[in-house]
């Protein structure tokens, strides 16, 4: 190594200028250009990976809701498949695949393969109709295809049931079991006429069931718990128990008429909805009756023009950000997750800001500088590097089981074992765990901001007779505020993107009860919640139909990245402002 880079030995004092020129030429080796290029290449690779990743996610995230054409494929074995092309790939079919083809098609397929060097292309068709075929997808290879068409009246039907999408042709529209319109065009027109009203009724039923019935159930539950409480409290008298029982009875009786009314209302709405049905025919001739109420959205994909497609696209986006998930989390919206993520982040920053700032103030302004303080500073810095899952373990053991368990035993003993209130993972504990995880970030940022306040300003303040606290409050903290905010935003960005600890202390696939609802106290910090990051893991990785959910996962990923990157950009902008302020404001 050393011999190469040793600069050329000093040339003897030469009287001839050409000798000098020769020397300067030899420096090519010393420039090490190939290695400089290698270094540059490393940077190029890093940047390419970053940009490639972002491009991939944003592209996939944006296109996932765009309605694609519906393709009807007839294969050599006489089967017909109708669906959207979800993936295309080149592969090398094995001999058995070809042998499995009907006699007639075999030779042609072989010849085709021969021409392409043994490679074939195959499409993954999303064929839906899970209730009929027990599968969501079908692979079709190019050599199998006899004909490929885009039928005009092929419908994409998105359903609210767990069976996912339905692909087929509208046949008849039924009302009260009577055929009201026959033929695709007429049936489709009728569908468009009646569908909004049906959806309206579905929403009403939903509202009645969740809000109205939910309120009644909550009241009854409360009364029941009061009875349990009276029974189990040590030293309670039998009369108290009696009173609680009577109250429970009273609540049940007083709510019974309302319950009855709501149930009747629901029944009538559902009966009305059951009247309207659309009969669809699949590509292979099977018929299926779909009540209008299970149809969330339907469109004849091949008839749509650009604006029609845009309409479907935008309506899917709106559903995505505003509705609840359907089809076992693979379709629909992520509103609960958006809400859960934001609420948790806000709760976390409420917890992390005061403590982080106070700790930083202590370290920077009050603690006597010395070995101990720098040791503590190193320790705090290092905690930022401790794996988040470790904090998750701590949160579960300490917050959920130890603290939450004690709270339950002290205040909620009457709920009985197995009905934990605070003794189980929930939003409060998740926020506190993440606060602990991110507090070093705030401490470090605040300390830096405090250190950046010029000494002259403090001295000026002291010279005017201000006390230490007055100086901190009036002079130091306002100047350090942008830095503190930067720290808090960075902490929020880190917290919003963390998933591993949440898997232990708070998230659930389907949140059992909503964290926010219309019942007192409106925000239920003891309940578990949905989280965008966890949804990525759960839907993209653990759900049975993760293939169908993949586009949705890309969109969720995009949303999460936008959230986190937005917070980070905000922090960077603040940091920039802070710097420029000081560049101008020093004296």
């Amino acid at each position: 190594m050393s011999t190469t880079t040793v600069p050329p030995p000093p040339a003897p004092p030469a009287p001839h200028p050409p000798a000098r020129r020769a020397k300067s030429r030899s420096a090519l080796l010393a420039h090490g250009l190939p290695l400089v290029w290698l270094n540059g290449g490393a940077l190029a690779v890093c940047l390419a990976m970053i940009l490639g990743l972002l491009l991939l996610i944003f592209y996939q995230g944006f296109v996932s809701f765009w309605p694609g054409p519906l393709v009807e494929v007839r294969t050599v074995d006489g089967k017909v498949y109708l669906g959207e092309v979800s993936r295309t790939e080149t592969y090398r079919p094995s001999a058995e695949v070809i042998d499995a083809l009907p006699e007639a098609a075999r030779a042609k397929a072989r010849a085709e393969l021969q021409n392409n060097g043994g490679l074939a292309t195959r499409w993954q068709l999303r064929t839906g109709n899970f209730d009929l075929t027990q599968t969501h997808f079908h692979w079709v290879s190019d050599f199998e295809i006899v004909s490929e068409t885009r039928p005009e009246w092929a419908l994409v039907v998105e359903r609210s049931t767990d069976d996912g999408r339905f692909y087929g042709f509208p046949k008849t529209f039924l009302r009260d079991g009577q055929e009201e319109a026959t033929g695709p065009e007429a049936a489709w027109a009728k569908y468009n006429e009646y569908h909004p009203a049906a959806l309206e009724r579905v929403a009403q039923v939903e509202h009645l069931r969740k809000k109205e019935l939910g309120r009644i159930n909550d009241r009854r539950n409360d009364a029941r718990l009061q009875v349990a409480k009276a029974e189990m409290r040590p030293g309670s008298s039998p009369s108290e128990v009696e009173a609680a029982r009577a109250e429970e009875q009273r609540v049940i009786e007083s709510t019974a008429p309302a319950e009855q009314r709501i149930k009747e209302e629901i029944a009538s709405l559902e009966a009305e909805n059951a009247k309207y049905q659309l009969k669809l025919e699949t590509a292979d001739g099977q018929e299926k009756l779909l009540p209008l109420s299970v149809i969330v959205r339907a469109y004849p994909a091949n008839r749509l023009g650009f604006w029609g497609k845009l309409g479907v696209y935008l309506s899917r986006w709106w559903e995505f950000v505003s509705a609840e998930p359907r089809g076992s989390n693979t379709e629909g919206g992520v509103w609960p997750a958006i809400l859960g993520t934001s609420l948790m982040t806000v709760l976390m920053s409420l917890a992390v800001t005061p403590f982080g700032v106070i700790a930083a103030l202590y370290l920077r302004e009050y603690a006597r500088a010395g070995v101990a303080v720098s040791a503590v500073r190193i320790a705090v810095n290092n905690l930022a590097g401790v794996p988040s899952i470790v904090f998750g373990v701590f949160g579960l053991g300490f917050f959920c089981y130890l603290v939450g368990g004690s709270i339950d035993r002290t205040f909620f003993y009457y709920k009985g074992a197995g009905n934990a209130t605070f003794g189980a993972p929930g939003m409060l504990w998740a926020s506190l765990t993440l606060a602990l995880l991110t507090v070093p970030v705030v401490i470090v940022a605040t300390e830096e901001a405090l250190a950046a306040v010029p000494r002259s300003m403090r001295e000026g303040s002291y010279a005017c007779g201000a006390s230490k606290w007055q100086t901190i409050r009036r002079i130091v903290l306002p100047r350090a505020m942008p830095g503190v905010l930067t720290g808090v935003i960075l902490a929020m960005a880190r917290g919003a993107g963390e998933v591993a600890p949440l898997m232990l202390v708070g998230v659930l696939k389907t949140a059992s009860g909503k964290v926010v609802d219309g019942n007192f106290p409106y925000v239920h910090a003891d309940r578990s919640f949905q989280h965008l990051g966890f949804l990525i893991y759960d839907v993209g990785f653990q759900s049975q139909n993760s293939e169908a959910a993949k586009p949705l996962v890309f969109t969720i990923t995009m949303l999460l990245i936008v959230l986190v990157a937005g917070l980070n950009l905000g922090a960077m902008w603040l940091r920039g402002r802070l710097r420029s302020k000081y560049a101008a404001g020093q004296f």
Partner: protein, 872 residues
């Protein structure tokens, strides 16, 4: 208060307002308490982890109670049992007597004959997984019954005054059982219940000498296996099923299938002394006093066969006690020298036995010093107790060979029977005329964990040798395996491959950014890379599992080729650049990065082209088949060895070039012009490339001749989610942090050093490699350490990017399980306070300690570097 004096001689005139002083006091107090509290809370994370994990290693305390005298009927004790609350004890004697006693006073509550009729009881089955007991008689009949405890909660209104007057915790005799007042409102009655005793329909007339029954469960239709040895030397095997007797309504056993076997004659050794039946018609062990044992394979109940004959003891010791551990696969054998060993069958392909299994003595549980009289096993864990003639008894956990307690009955009387209480919270020692209870403190009871069982190989049931295994969930009688190494290994494997990917990229990129990139480009590049540090790792995990893994699987050859072609393309680009005339080169220098970046697609395209071609040339077109040892090229390890050796050869060639070839060339090239010089360099590069290929292939041939095959070590069968994928994604995840810290360190090198070096005539490259990098070395090192810390604890990427199987396999194409992923997957299912729970806390503690140490080292080095850079 003394007036404060200033140097002007004036005393202070104004006094701070009270509110100001109060504010000052309160703020100081609040900030101090809050600050220290916050810091303490953060640091408490580590303390809490220790606090939860520490009980794993706390020694177990066993307290010996006072002996309680019990009336002895005079005949041999056959069986001994107790209820789960240790209130009642029962004994069955050789004459068919059942005796029920209070365990606290020893008072006899009941004594009755279990069987009517003339037949004499000759055999009784040893304790099993269920409450069933089989009895054999001298007329060849077999009866089956159950002795169980019935727990009821009598109401206050029903009981008599004596019971009603009980204070909480007190007991009283009531209706043949014992009633205990649990609380003000609740009473609990514990009574014994004897069921059945009906004869099983068999066509045997010879006296039953040994008998065992193994039932699959307590349900009404569970299947089971009954085996007994008759006086005529025949071993009978029966598949049985529970049913109800039509005549009496009692539960009985129905025989479904039968078989028999004449045991091999053993002259001069008397009759067998022990018979144990395992599983539902699995195997029967018949053992003689001298330790000889015949393992009878009865998977086909109708045709039992002797599969293996072996010896439990050596050196002529006599076998004195034999018992099954829970699950009935491990046998504990005690001999008259006091030694107790655990045996089980392991698979051995070349075994001479009938079923390719051999019995091995896997655990030596030490010696009691005098003949073992009784061995008891737990009904819920792999704990066992052995008692000796001398009155000593020992409690051990078999898997971990953890010696829990060594005690002796106070009166030194020989131990006649032992019992581990149903809740594993006591050992009951029955001597001839007393019962001693040794209470086990179960508040922190983790006998399966010892430092050795965590970090050394442990011989688990059914394994061919001691191994490191992590496997914590299974059925009821499952042997939990808490071997830490597979997890630590997985963590290190993930870290290694991600560092292999991330460190070179990040460091080289940092060097380029700090030393060669145009400042304006740097102002864009740096924040961009920094932004990536905050990219949620779940995103990377999702991409690794659902995008990268399928992509790499179908483009494996091209991806592997890219490792060579992409850097090769950059180096080649540099060589080509040298051919440019100097003026052009200088003018374009500020756009150099654009050209560098433009080479990247070329490198990737080259990989896409070269990869499949190489795959066809070297591996007959199917790399994955070769990795499996299949396909046309599967038999020949040379191509793989060649591919693996190529990077090594490249490195060696580089050193050779730098050390020997360049000095040789220097005098020549000094006389030549720039273009000729550049051409020579290019030729040199081409020659070096050819040399690398040749050298690697030659050494691969040599290694193959020497019998080396890379498959099975660093490469092997391809699994879709593997270390390569994780290495790639986690490398990507740690690049930003390493890059940022490294770039900061490089930029922090004082400008005057750089200027001085350049001023002396050094080229930027020389300045970078000989001045800047050595000065910033400690900063770069600390960057790598921080990256290491990040990689060690990363959870989501490994959770999603690997199959999460705890393997110890170096194969880059195979999965693994890291400590962090293990916590994430198993923690939600772990029961609070259980061994599993605490072991997972130990995992977290190990992670915490690892990252804390790494980060501290990095931080200390970085601070030292900063100080030094400041001094320069």
């Amino acid at each position: 208060m003394q007036p404060t004096r200033s140097f002007t001689g004036h005393s202070r005139r104004r006094v701070s307002r009270f509110s100001v002083r109060l504010g000052e006091f309160l703020s100081r107090w609040l900030i101090t308490v809050g600050g220290i509290g916050t810091i303490a809370a953060v640091i408490a994370v580590g303390v809490f982890l220790v606090w939860v994990a520490a009980p794993l290693f706390r020694p177990i305390t066993v307290t010996l109670g006072k002996p309680v005298p019990v009336a002895a009927p005079g005949t041999r004790l056959l069986r001994f049992g107790a209820d789960e609350y240790q209130l009642l004890g029962w004994s069955i004697y050789a004459d068919g007597t059942l005796q029920v006693v209070r365990l606290d006073t020893g008072k006899e509550l009941d004594r009755r004959k279990l069987f009517e009729g003339d037949a004499k009881l000759t055999a009784c089955s040893p304790p099993g997984d269920t409450a069933d007991i089989a009895f054999g008689f001298d007329d060849g009949t077999v009866r089956v019954g159950r002795v169980r405890f019935q727990t009821t909660y009598p109401k206050e209104e029903e009981v008599d005054d004596k019971v009603r007057a009980l204070a909480p915790g007190e007991t009283a005799e009531y209706r043949g059982g014992l009633v205990l007042r649990q609380s003000d409102r609740e009473l609990r009655l514990q009574a014994i219940e004897v069921e059945g005793g009906d004869a099983v329909k068999l066509d045997n007339t010879a006296a039953v000498e040994l008998i065992d029954l193994s039932m699959g469960g307590d349900e009404e239709d569970s299947a089971g296996f009954l085996s007994y040895l008759a006086a005529d030397g025949k071993l009978h095997t029966h598949a049985v099923k529970r049913g109800v007797s039509l005549a009496t309504g009692n539960p009985v056993l129905k025989v479904e299938a039968s078989g028999e076997l004449a045991l091999p004659a053993r002259d001069g050794h008397g009759k067998p002394a022990h018979l144990l039946a395992a599983g539902i018609g699995d195997s029967v062990f018949v053992a003689w006093d001298d330790g000889h044992c015949a393992r009878v394979q009865a998977r086909n109940v109708e045709e039992p066969k002797v599969a293996e004959e072996f010896h439990f003891t050596n050196g002529g010791a006599k076998l004195t006690a034999l018992a099954f551990l829970i699950g009935k696969a491990t046998l504990l054998a005690g001999d008259d020298t006091g030694r107790v060993r655990a045996w089980f069958a392991v698979n051995k392909a070349d075994a001479a036995t009938g079923d390719r299994q051999v019995m091995v003595a896997a655990h030596d549980l030490g010696s009691l010093g005098s003949p073992v009289t009784s061995i008891a096993t737990s009904g819920r864990s792999r704990m066992a107790a052995a008692g000796a003639e001398s009155g000593h008894f020992r409690l051990v956990y078999v898997t971990s060979e953890n010696d829990l307690a060594d005690l002796a009955a106070p009166d030194g009387a020989p131990v006649r029977a032992l019992l581990i209480a149903p809740k594993d919270n006591a050992v009951l020692v029955r001597t001839t005329d007393s019962i001693v209870t040794a209470a086990i403190d179960t508040s922190h009871f983790h006998p399966e964990i010892t430092p050795a069982s965590l970090f050394l190989p442990v011989w688990y049931e059914g394994y061919d040798r001691p191994r490191h295994v992590w496997q914590t969930t299974g059925g009821d009688s499952y042997e939990p395996k808490y071997g830490f190494w597979p997890l630590v290994f997985g963590t290190l494997k993930a870290t290694f491959y991600s560092l292999l990917m991330g460190v070179p990229l990040a460091l080289l990129a940092a060097v380029y950014t700090s030393e060669f990139l145009h400042p304006r480009a740097k102002a864009v590049v740096k924040p961009t890379v920094e932004m990536m540090a905050s990219l949620p790792s779940v995103v990377l995990g999702f991409l690794s599992a659902l995008v990268l893994a399928p992509f790499v699987e179908s483009w494996l050859a091209a991806v592997l080729a890219a490792v060579v072609t992409v850097p090769g393309a950059f180096v080649l680009g540099g060589y080509v650049w040298q051919l440019l005339p100097e003026k052009v080169g200088l003018r374009l220098a500020r756009y150099r990065f654009v050209f560098v970046a433009a080479v990247l697609p070329l490198g990737l395209a080259a990989a896409a082209l070269v990869g499949p071609v190489l795959e066809r040339l070297l591996f007959a077109g199917d790399l994955k088949a070769w990795l499996d040892g299949k396909g046309a090229a599967g038999g020949d390890p040379t191509p793989g060895t060649f591919v693996l050796l190529a990077p090594v050869a490249a490195l060696v060639t580089f050193v050779l070039l730098v050390q020997f070839v360049n000095p040789l060339l220097r005098p020549t090239v000094m006389r030549l012009g720039r273009l000729e010089n550049g051409l020579i360099e290019l030729v040199k590069f081409a020659a070096a490339a050819v040399f690398v290929v040749a050298a690697a292939y030659a050494s691969a041939l040599l290694l193959t001749a020497a019998g080396f095959d890379p498959r099975g070590s660093v490469v092997g069968t391809y699994v879709q989610r593997n270390a390569l994928i994780v290495g790639f994604m986690m490398g990507f995840a740690i690049i930003p942090i390493i890059f940022t810290i490294a770039e900061d360190a490089l930029s922090a090198v004082p400008e005057h050093l750089r200027s001085a070096s350049l001023g002396c005539g050094a080229t930027p490259w020389q300045t970078a490699t000989r001045v800047i990098i050595p000065t910033a070395m400690s900063g770069l090192f600390s960057a790598v350490m921080v990256g290491l810390g990040r990689a060690v604890g990363e959870t989501m990427i490994v959770l999603m990017g690997t199959g999460n199987t705890p393997l110890m396999d170096f194969n880059i194409f195979n999965g693994f399980k890291t400590l962090s992923a293990n916590i994430a997957t198993e923690m939600p299912d772990a029961v609070v306070g259980s061994t599993h729970y605490r072991t997972l806390f130990l995992c977290a503690l190990v992670l915490f300690a690892m990252t804390f140490v790494l980060n501290t080292v990095a931080e200390v080095i970085r601070q030292r570097f900063r100080r030094r850079a400041f001094q320069l």
